[in-house]
Amino acid sequence: MSVPPPPIRVAACGALTAFGDETVTLDALLAGRTALAARPVQGRPGDDLVPLALIPARPYDETLPPGWLPALQTLAARIPGEGWGTPRRPVFVTGSNFGVGHLLAFRRHGDPAHLDLGTPYECVAHVARTLGWGPDVTVISHACVSAHLGLLQATRTLHAGLADEALVFSFDFISAFVAGGFHALKILNADFPAPYQNRPVGSIGLGDGAAFAVLTRDRGDFALAGQSLHNEMHHFTANRADGSGFAACLADLPAAAVRRVWLKGHGTGTLEAGRLETAALDQAFPDAPLVSWKGALGHTLGSCGLVELAIALAAIRRGRAPGTIGATAPGFTPAVAFDAFDLAGFDGVVCTSNAFGGAHAAFIACHA
């Protein structure tokens, strides 16, 4: 019988949300605040208003250079170490938007310079040049589980001995292009999200988010005790009605690695997925308190897994987890925690994300 490799450690982890860094964000969440505000979906007067959480003062319309780049530089300045993007220190960049809004900007304004940011590879190349990274940069994108894939790929790289440290870096800044798409699906509407709340109409919010994690084999206060991925291969925008996709992903987690966990779920605010997700989590982790923070941060899309990991680790350090902001009882299950709670007695957190295309991802984070 093969011995599983030791858990990969998290040497550093930070995030940026519409509130600020992970510490400021945690303060805001513990205070029950939301960064979501009703904004015109396309940024034009008269547009439908939808809940968006944007980093303060950054322009919603695409600019050259990108208006979000200074915020990303501020975040990147906190990454410890040097030589990122080299063979022994590879970078895995994840996200679901990258600079796609620049395609709409090109259509609106005709400036071909926007095309240099419009695709994931071009956008990441621009970011890598700006941040001084070398060429060992891998781009991974799979909708809203993108960051989980980056963490898993970095873990495999370290387990294989192919690197000394790995940087997972993720960013998603909301554009009119992306907000318009979710608005067309009718899940981004005038209502503010109320994750896991049993109500007649569902809705989500969208938010800016970026984060990083430095993974190593032997340094850091926290560890990723297990990771899992599953694709139910059912439908582009719908899950199997029996929730088996959610359950299959959770079943692959080494739950025995920790005794008592709390749950940071995906919880966007949609009803069908919320019901399936809460039921599956309840089955896999009976009585574990469940929270979602997307009612405050908005859905940070492909970056949500890493953004929420950074906040979860900050919460563990603080000893207190924020509740499910924006929602009130009744929840889909009694396990939904609406208020903040103390983390004394908990050994770790299970973080989950779900994505278009039937993808499910989860990991367990705990003290090393």
Partner: protein, 92 residues
């Protein structure tokens, strides 16, 4: 006697979703549109909603409302009559 609005909706569905080998007569008024005999899915629903909003000047506010409206041709016709300006409706 056939309902002009329902006929218009069926024609619009066939046109928008490029339903090959389907005629208005093939679409049953009370059959579920999504997951029923037409095998429409949520992406089809999205396309249909966008077209209906343009055609009838209506605004469907949420995915739940969209699902209610698209329950069947009968439900869709009722929804359009309740929400569209009468000038947009075909003469009875």
């Amino acid at each position: 006697m056939s309902d002009p609005l329902k006929n218009q909706l069926k024609t619009l569905m066939i046109d928008t979703l490029r339903l090959e080998d389907v005629t208005p007569a093939d679409i049953v008024d009370d059959e579920p549109l999504i997951g029923g005999g037409l095998s429409l899915d949520s992406i089809d629903a999205l396309e249909l909603v966008v077209r209906l909003e343009k055609e009838f000047g209506i605004k469907i506010g949420s995915s739940e409302e969209s699902r209610t409206a698209l329950a069947s041709v009968n439900a869709l016709a009722d929804y359009i009559r309740a929400h569209a300006d009468s000038s947009r409706l075909p003469a009875a």
